[in-house]
């Protein structure tokens, strides 16, 4: 009896589907973005709360010696340390490029590069520039600065929460 020969083209699509199934459902699956990270979420929230409280206090003391840059340096050192811890955390998570970039932007808007001039980008630059060094920035500039900082941190938080929602959908 002659054996029936199945042409390759007949079973190739089926084989392709099986392979795709294994790739899709295989160990770990395909990852294009990292999962939600609770530590990142909490760190971002803590940085936002502390920065917001600091700006509120600075608005109240604006125009007095209490708002001088030197007197408030401790805040910038503390935030620098917290940001370094957060950067270390987000850098150690695979496929986390978007969050890494967002944390870098948070550093840029709070601490910047210490240019203390119109070329600056941060709350610290606003505070350490010569006109504000002794009595702090004006309440108006601080309010605008607060909006920019909150929006930047909120962008990173929104992404983290979107990851959480995406994860819960597929449980």
């Amino acid at each position: 009896m002659r054996r029936k020969i199945v042409p390759k083209s007949r079973y190739m699509p089926f084989l392709g589907c099986v392979l795709l199934a294994f790739v899709l459902a295989g160990c770990g699956g395909i990852r294009i973005i990292s999962d939600y990270d609770e530590t990142t979420d909490k760190s971002l929230t803590a940085i936002q709360e502390q920065t917001d409280a600091f700006i509120s206090a600075l608005v109240k003391s604006s125009g007095t010696e209490d708002a001088a840059f030197e007197k408030n340096k401790a805040f910038y050192d503390r935030i620098d340390q917290q940001l370094r811890q957060l950067e270390f955390r987000v850098n150690s998570i695979p496929r986390n490029e978007q969050t890494i970039a967002l944390v870098k932007k948070i550093r840029t808007v709070i601490l910047g590069e210490g240019k203390c001039s119109g070329e600056g980008t941060s709350l610290r630059d606003l505070h350490c520039m010569s006109q504000n060094e002794s009595k702090g920035p004006s309440a108006t500039s601080l309010e605008i600065c607060r909006r920019n900082i909150n929006q930047t941190i909120s962008a990173a938080l929104s992404l983290e929460l979107a990851k959480k929602q995406g994860l819960e959908k597929n449980k």
Binding site: L102, R147, N170
Partner: protein, 112 residues
């Protein structure tokens, strides 16, 4: 780029339109996030312009605040891009779950 003159009144809509055209077909999944964020950016920009016009902030302060706002704008766009990746990831995970359930039920034991 959106056409027409940009004014204080239509600034938010123009920013939103620009984002819409650059996100293309991914726009649907980030629309709910981009709309209120564009409004916030437009309000902050208006505050900077008005504060400078009234002399409440110096030229240097305005420059810092504008530089800072540019970073905030790129943060919003970066988050929106991340959200579209989250949506794509959710799609892949859902497809993987369907395949997993199907294969395991056919085989009779949890292979995947």
């Amino acid at each position: 780029m959106p056409e027409g003159k940009v004014t204080m009144g239509n600034l938010c809509d123009k920013m939103f339109e620009a984002a819409k055209s650059s996100f293309g077909d991914k726009f649907a999944c980030v629309k709910h996030y981009l709309k209120p964020e564009s409004e916030k950016l437009a309000i902050t920009l208006r505050m900077i312009i008005e504060a400078r016009a009234k002399g409440e902030i110096s030229k240097e302060e305005a420059a810092i605040l504008l530089n800072q706002q540019k970073i905030a704008s790129t943060a919003v766009l970066a988050a929106a891009e991340g959200m579209s990746a989250v949506a794509a990831q959710a799609g892949l995970d859902a497809a993987a779950n369907v395949v997993k359930t199907f294969v395991n039920s056919k085989i009779g034991f949890p292979l995947l």
